[in-house]
């Protein structure tokens, strides 16, 4: 090999190396950003998955409750638990003076009375006994316990006063403060109180919205894609439709929200704030994405396979349904997942159709009012309490896990199809 060619070859190798380095660098950069993002979200949010409880000895005094022996469950439900709840809590500090009693009460979530009542409803035989119960701590105590609030700042800047801190330390030394997995974050609907707020409503809202979106957009989009790609005559009119589908994919989502509000709610009278309306609105956004993906993957089916089917005497429709469509499915599904993932994170259109309303019930069907995960993130991020800050991050984590699950499912379905077809 002469020198000139050798140099040339070296140059080629060098440029190849450089190219690989650039690729590696950009991937590393992307990964670093991703890692920073995930670490930030996780470090902010992981504490939302635990919850602080305070043990309290509750005296289910029959006389204070004004109950007879062996009361019916209705009686148990109607009894007034205020007194025993109050007494049990202020008994935590035997030397408490009257002015500090509210401080003690404020260490608990506002629904302490309900928790005490629910326990007795479940264990009616404990009537007349003294039971050690764990009650949900207030958000401030929760944050102190998790170390999210500084303790060494002046009292007037603190949300927990010196007296409460003293009691907290005393209880903790006694082992009466415990930290457990925060199940209620997943089972509770939204609440004004951070310690009680959960994602059940928004999670179900998102789930229903995505399902509605899938049901409305997938069949329509796939049929539209098949028709446009395989059957429609190629003329000015279909060109016009094609241009408009591409335009539709670029329309800002808030416009679809207005459409949902104006048409679905105001004209068709569908119920406001429901996943049904949310899902249909989102499906307007996913439709063009899926149509474009379906057409692209139909176009990518080798013509030789279609010709083979046609030459065997298959009709146009048989050729399409037996060969082209199955081969295009992996691509179409990828497009569908991309579309759904976009829809999953959409906030603006859902706010417009009212899925931003404060919902403290868990929706059982797409016709019940609900929030959605991204809207929940938006709502909580408006609140100042530290308890909501960690919940925002936790909610984002749930959203991400939702997304990953969706992508994995798509991967598995894709894999099935590919295994079957190639």
């Amino acid at each position: 090999m002469n020198n000139k060619r050798k140099n040339f070859l070296e140059k080629r190798y060098k440029s190849e190396k450089r190219f690989q380095l650039f690729g590696l660098a950009s991937i590393s950069l992307a990964l670093i950003f991703l890692a920073i993002f995930l670490i930030k979200i996780f470090s902010n949010g992981y504490s939302a998955f635990t919850k602080t409880w305070i043990f309290v000895e509750v005296n289910y005094d029959r006389e204070l409750l004004l109950l007879e022996e062996n009361p019916s469950s209705e009686d148990l439900n109607n009894a007034d638990y205020y007194d025993i709840a109050y007494q049990s809590i202020i008994a935590l500090d035997p030397e408490v003076d009257e002015s500090s009693e509210t401080f003690l009460i404020e260490m608990f979530a506002y629904n302490y009375e309900l928790e005490i009542k629910n326990y007795l409803k479940k264990n009616p035989s404990d009537l007349g006994k003294i039971v050690k119960l764990k009650l949900t701590a207030s958000d401030d105590i929760d944050q102190i316990n998790k170390g999210n609030y500084p303790r060494d700042i002046p009292e007037e800047n603190r949300r927990v006063n010196n007296y409460q801190l003293k009691i907290f330390d005393m209880l903790e030394a006694r082992g009466d403060i415990i930290n457990t997995f925060n199940l209620s974050f997943f089972t509770n609907p939204d609440s004004r109180e951070a310690e009680l707020a959960g994602i059940a409503s928004s999670f179900m809202g998102t789930l229903f919205s995505i399902l509605v979106c899938l049901v409305f957009s997938f069949p329509i989009a796939v049929l539209a894609g098949i028709y446009l790609e395989e059957f429609a005559p190629k003329n000015k009119f279909t060109d016009f439709i094609e241009v408009n589908i591409n335009n539709l994919a670029a329309v800002p989502s808030i416009v679809f929200g207005l459409l949902g509000l104006g048409v679905l709610i105001n004209i068709f009278g569908l119920p406001r704030s429901t996943p049904l309306v949310g899902g249909i609105t989102l499906s307007l956004m996913t439709l063009p994405t899926i149509i474009i993906a379906a057409r692209a993957s139909l176009k990518a089916v080798p013509p030789s396979i279609k010709e083979a089917a046609l030459a065997m005497g298959a009709s146009k429709m048989q050729t399409t349904l037996h060969h082209a469509v199955p081969l295009s499915m992996p691509g179409t599904l990828s497009g569908t997942i991309i579309g759904l993932a976009q829809a999953l994170g959409e906030t603006a259109p859902l706010i417009l159709i009212g899925m931003v309303a404060f919902v403290n019930t868990i929706p059982g069907s797409p016709l019940d009012p609900a929030a959605s995960l991204p809207v929940q993130v938006y709502i909580w991020s408006e609140s100042a309490e530290r308890g909501f800050v960690e919940k925002v991050s936790a909610c984002i984590m749930v959203l991400l896990i939702f997304l990953i699950t969706m992508n994995l499912t798509a991967q598995i379905i894709r894999h099935r199809f590919e295994k079957k077809w190639s």
């Binding site: 190629k234 030789s304 010709e307 089917a309 030459a311 065997m312 005497g313 009709s315 048989q318």
Partner: protein, 252 residues
């Protein structure tokens, strides 16, 4: 010999470009007609006229009359599904469906409703594969994917697929270009056997193959049918100088 397909004054255009010029040819029933000629002369184009496969090419336009028995192939009213059921095709490049070997063969009989039971279908699959000289190689893996076979095996699979619905006419576009001599000999044997019941039109680049398998030979050049006669005459005593040059390899 009765003619099965008769083309009269066929012109084919790809857009502005004319690919076939005034072709007239009579394809005899139950004999093998070979089409030879240099690359790009329009052999495949002509073959695709016979089962209307040119329909799928938007820019392609076919003029003239092509009669299949008494049916006008080149007519708008023609039912192409019925035509293709009777005029099968093996393409130049193997194009099995990305499905199992079994499904590849079973597809035609199934869509045309030729079988009543799984047993009948199994039988068709077996005889088709046997005729295409592929059975021994694939009998143990009928449910593996057809595209996983070697190129030559794929081509034989396509032949088996084409004969599975017993078309009256079989069009073959260089069916042996990807095959080794043994498989080629088997296919030639198959063609010999098929001609008892089917009419065959085969495009080939191998002079010896044309001479071995065909009764009639047509020589194409630059979109013209230069000469069409009995194979014996074409190879022993061609009437045209160009034909003479081409078959003796002194062409171009």
């Amino acid at each position: 010999m009765k003619s099965k397909i008769s083309a009269k004054g066929v012109n084919v255009y790809y857009g502005e470009k004319q690919a076939l010029k005034n072709i007239s040819i009579e394809i005899g029933e139950k004999e093998v007609t070979a089409l030879i000629g240099p690359s790009g002369c329009g052999k495949s184009t002509f073959l695709r006229c016979l089962n209307r496969m040119n329909d799928v090419i938007d820019i392609c336009r076919v003029e003239g009359s092509i009669k299949f028995d008494n049916l006008e192939i080149n007519s708008k009213e023609l039912d192409v599904v019925r035509l293709r059921e009777n005029v099968g095709m093996v393409f130049q490049k193997p194009n099995p469906f990305p499905k199992t070997i079994y499904e590849n063969i079973a597809y035609g009989p199934t869509i045309h409703g030729l079988v009543q039971s799984k047993q009948e279908l199994d039988e068709i699959v077996e005889t088709s594969l046997k005729k295409a000289a592929l059975w021994n190689e694939v009998k143990d893996r009928l449910h593996e994917i057809g595209t996983g076979l070697s190129g030559g095996q794929q081509q034989r699979l396509c032949i088996a697929r084409a004969i599975s619905i017993k078309p009256e006419v079989i069009l073959m576009d260089e069916p042996c270009s990807a095959l080794d001599p043994i498989a080629t000999a088997q296919i030639e044997e198959l063609i010999d056997e098929l001609k008892n019941e089917h009419t065959i039109v085969i495009v080939t680049h191998s002079m010896s193959q044309a001479a071995r398998v065909s009764q009639k030979t047509g020589f194409f050049h630059l979109g013209n049918l230069i000469e069409f006669d009995s194979t014996e005459k074409i190879f022993k005593n061609p009437g045209n100088q160009q034909t003479q040059d081409y078959i003796t390899g002194r062409f171009g």
